[in-house]
Amino acid sequence: MALEVRIIPVILLHKDQAYKTTAFSNPVYVGDPVNLVRIFNEKMVDELLIIDRDATSERRPPNFELLKNLARECQMPLTYAGGVTSREIAEKVISLGVEKVGIGSPAVERLQLLQEISFSLGSQSLTTIVNLKRKPNTLDAYTVWHNNLDTKTLDPIDYIKLAQEFGSGELLLHSVDLDGCGTGFDWNSLNIFGGHIKCAVTILGGAGTFRHFQDVIENFRGNLGLAAASFFTFQGRFRAVLPSYLTPIEKRLLNELV
């Protein structure tokens, strides 16, 4: 077998606990994040992504103490995003034992940040998170979403190209609209942006069934990361909290599609 598809559970932090939202609202409590990391360790997941969106929106740095404990517990590669607004903060996050820093909104505010981080830590430690929102009444036009700034004039393709020029080792395409919906990944965005991405690429937002994972890979046919929060957190009709992962056979099926 060659390079495998990366299947990545996502833990969202809110007030230092794990939460899950739908389109960034209606947070539902999930549990103690350290315990969740332990569970994902046991399931031997490929990678883990931990996001503290509040840190960015509340304009504060990451909770380093919590992050240190999470990194210490995590036996697989860990990406952390949220509140990483400077090279110094990125360096501190990596020094705690995190493999990659994820930069979303802070890069929209100041693209130079990506260059500063990649220069200091290397491209392999930098993931740029591109929060994509569909333009109203369109199927294939997107904006790079930021909760505060007006990004109407920011061309997503230009943004994606610059993010790579500034040293991103990975680009994570996050569908803001489909977040938590369970109706399928936005593989349309991969069709539009995939050809412009030369570094590692990961997609997040909308996974609801195993079929959705198959759909993306059949469509993309390249090495890819597929990230999901709800899918690996909630099970059943009543959305009970039950962390899960793909089985080895499901993973093998996906790899055969690449």
């Binding site: 077998m1 060659a2 390079l3 495998e4 598809v5 990366r6 031997m44 490929d46 990678e47 990194a71 210490r72 995590c74 036996q75 697989m76 590669p77 020094s95 705690l96 034992g97 493999e99 200091s120 830590l121 290397g122 491209s123 392999q124 430690s125 080792g169 990975e170 030369k198 570094c199 590692a200 690429v201 390249g222 090495n223 990361g225």
Partner: protein
């Protein structure tokens, strides 16, 4: 006692945790005096070749490492850029490597593979080229996949020191063994059970 060389790069905590999990004693090497009573060494490394080499050269540990490895034959295993540092030069930068081994570090992307996605990021299968201390030709398939995160690979002058390869557009070396010098391109400290078993094999010298 395993000495983990701490000069500011690499996921030191993950390496310490991994040795704890397999019941092997380890300590951090922060200064030259920390080298005593260490039976084996780990040389981690993450980041660009030049930044890692400069940081290491400024750490004050370089001479002690050379003495330990080249004079006292202490086994050392380089991980990721730590493996690359063991060689002479790298296409990635201008700095010279430690030169413990002859050879250079090359870019995974070549003229014929300019569409290759880099870094090589994710889990990939390694193929042992022969039986060695770290690998066996008969290793279970579950123990043959590890996590990679790099864009460059080592090209030893002496091909016989290569003990495993992987496929990412081309079939390139991911592990070397030469006398007391070992190295792996992937991250055993982040490769679940396969990684733990490999670290154990290095620690026990079997």
């Amino acid at each position: 006692m395993i000495g983990i060389i701490n000069y500011g790069t690499g996921n030191i905590q993950a390496i310490v945790n991994s040795f704890n999990r397999i019941g092997v004693e380890s300590k951090l090497i922060n200064t030259s005096s920390d080298f005593k009573d260490v039976s084996r060494l780990i040389l981690p490394g993450v980041g660009s070749f030049d930044s890692v080499m400069k940081r290491f050269s400024n750490s004050g540990l370089r001479n002690s490492l050379s003495d330990a490895v080249l004079k006292n034959n202490i086994p050392v295993m380089g991980i990721c850029v730590g493996l690359q540092m063991l060689f002479q030069t790298s296409d990635e930068g201008k700095e010279e490597g430690l030169g413990f081994l002859a050879g250079s570090v090359k870019y995974l992307k070549s003229d014929t593979t300019h569409e290759l996605r880099l870094p090589h990021m994710g889990w990939n299968t390694i193929y042992a080229t022969r039986d060695s201390q770290l690998f066996s030709l008969n290793t279970d398939a579950r123990d043959n996949r590890f996590y990679f995160l790099h864009s460059y690979f080592v090209k030893p002058t002496l091909d016989s020191i290569v003990t495993a390869r992987a496929i990412y557009s081309h079939y390139f070396s991911v592990s070397i063994e030469y006398e007391n010098i070992f190295g792996v391109q992937f991250h055993p400290e982040k490769s679940h059970n396969a990684g733990l078993k490999l670290l154990k094999r290095f620690a026990l010298g079997s």
